[in-house]
């Protein structure tokens, strides 16, 4: 239990977010109306994605220092979880955009940046699948992972802030000042960020365990 407390915390926080996020009072804003509740689901996805991708880069750096298959699997599964979070973030954002801006997709720097960053990480998966030698695959995808992180992060956090955009957090204005003035929302939003981030790490851990076990089974069959 002492090692797994954060998983329980994640479950509790997410249950709280699901209940409180849908039932607690929210400020009445024009256009946004009740859809503002999506803040608890859409925004934490990106937080979770960023943290899990940082973890992935950390494992890749460690892999390059001391190559072990475990670190490679951890980096790979973390990146995959990050991609999953990113795709869900794009999907929730798209639904939100439909009901507030009137279109599933708008030509907006933040949206396009996020989509391209997903393409960059999609290329990571393609790269992994095009090697047959395991060690070479691990080393080269670790290199690409670090490189991809360095080019993808400006797409999320630097470029959209330079241009005008419909999306909050662009055109020089910080993302949260407008909505988080309401302290009721903060009570749900911060737990949501922590909960979804912990869930991402949990997912990555589970996926890594599964692929480690698969590898062990495979090695046993060979022996």
């Amino acid at each position: 239990m002492s090692k797994n407390w954060w998983k329980a915390l994640s479950v509790v926080l997410l249950l709280y977010v699901a209940v409180a996020g849908l039932l607690m009072p929210v400020p009445r804003l024009a256009i946004l109306n009740e859809s503002i509740r999506n803040l608890y689901f859409h925004v934490p996805m990106w937080f979770g994605m960023t943290f899990i991708l940082i973890a992935s880069v950390y494992y890749s750096v460690r892999y390059l220092r001391t190559p072990t298959p475990e670190l490679d699997i951890l980096a790979h599964e973390s990146a995959r979880t990050g991609i999953l979070m990113g795709v869900v973030g794009l999907a929730t954002g798209s639904i939100w955009a439909k009901y507030t801006w009137g279109a599933w997709w708008t030509n907006d720097p933040k949206l396009n940046g996020a989509a391209i960053a997903m393409l960059i990480y999609g290329a990571y998966l393609v790269l992994r699948s095009s090697f047959t030698d395991e060690q070479q695959r691990a080393r080269i995808s670790a290199i690409y992972n670090i490189f991809a992180f360095a080019t993808a992060m400006p797409l999320f956090y630097i470029l959209p802030r330079l241009t005008d955009s419909l999306h909050p957090g662009a055109g020089g204005n910080p993302a949260f000042a407008k909505y988080d003035l309401d302290s009721d929302m903060r009570m749900v939003f911060y737990p949501a960020v922590i909960g979804w981030t912990l869930l991402a790490f949990w997912l990555a851990q589970l996926a890594s365990r599964v692929s480690l076990l698969k590898q062990k089974v495979y090695e046993k069959q060979l022996a």
Binding site: L64, P109, G113, I116, A117, L119, I120, G122, A123, V126, L127, S130, F131, T132, Q136, R139, I140, A142, I143, Y144, I146, F147, A148, A150, T151, P154, L155, I158, L159, L162, T163
Partner: protein, 213 residues
């Protein structure tokens, strides 16, 4: 380092091919647009120019590692440090792309008209673009050369990585086309320089690991 640079320079057989590639691409653009008659609108001019540059950059840089024979790689490995190799490759590719870009710009201006109002800004932007493309694509081509289906991989890995740079470049060159003051594009230019430095530093750090295999 300088010697390595010269080695690169010596195998410039691809250069003429690349020049021809750029020339014919520009000419095809010219022919297909001249059917409509009249001047190309500035945004289309701009977009087309960068697309031509993008494709010729990918083709030019891909040759860098893919055509390298295994024996020569081994020879480099024993003679010089990996950092020197990547710096030389980036430098060579940057110069190559710069030459290509200027030739393309010249040809392009001749056949499709030259709506650029602020030429120094435009050329400075092209220089930054060449350096940025070179530092991104050199490492990517190094990665792609290790894989089995390298030419597809080169495009798949390279294009998304270059998009942030390309967006900024297109924005700045649009400003140059419209003849805006330097102040209007200063922040974008600074971001571009910063992006170039990030990408260059990351390739410098990562290349030794790639080299070892």
């Amino acid at each position: 380092m300088q010697k390595d640079f010269r080695l690169e320079w010596r195998q410039r057989a691809a250069l003429n091919g690349m020049l021809l590639y750029v020339g014919s691409t520009v000419f095809v653009c010219y022919l297909s647009f001249s059917l409509r008659g009249g001047q190309l609108p500035a945004p289309a001019w701009n977009a087309l120019f960068w697309i031509v540059l993008l494709f010729s950059a990918v083709n030019a840089v891909a040759k860098g590692f893919l055509q390298e024979s295994r024996g020569r790689m081994l020879y480099y490995y024993t003679v010089v440090r990996p950092q020197a190799v990547i710096l030389a490759k980036i430098g060579y590719n940057a110069l190559l792309l710069l030459g290509l870009a200027l030739v393309a710009f010249g040809l392009y201006a001749v056949v499709l008209g030259n709506p650029v109002q602020n030429v120094p800004l435009f050329v400075g932007n092209v220089v930054l673009g060449a350096v940025g493309f070179a530092s991104t694509l050199t490492l990517v081509s190094g990665i792609a050369a290790k894989a089995t289906n390298s030419s597809t991989l080169m495009a798949v890995l390279g294009f998304p990585l270059m998009v942030p740079m390309l967006l900024l470049l297109i924005k700045v060159s649009k400003n140059a086309l419209d003849g805006l003051e330097f102040d209007a594009s200063q922040s974008s230019l600074l971001t571009l320089v910063a992006l170039n430095m990030i990408v260059g530093a990351v390739s410098y750090l990562l290349f030794p690991f790639l080299w070892r295999s």
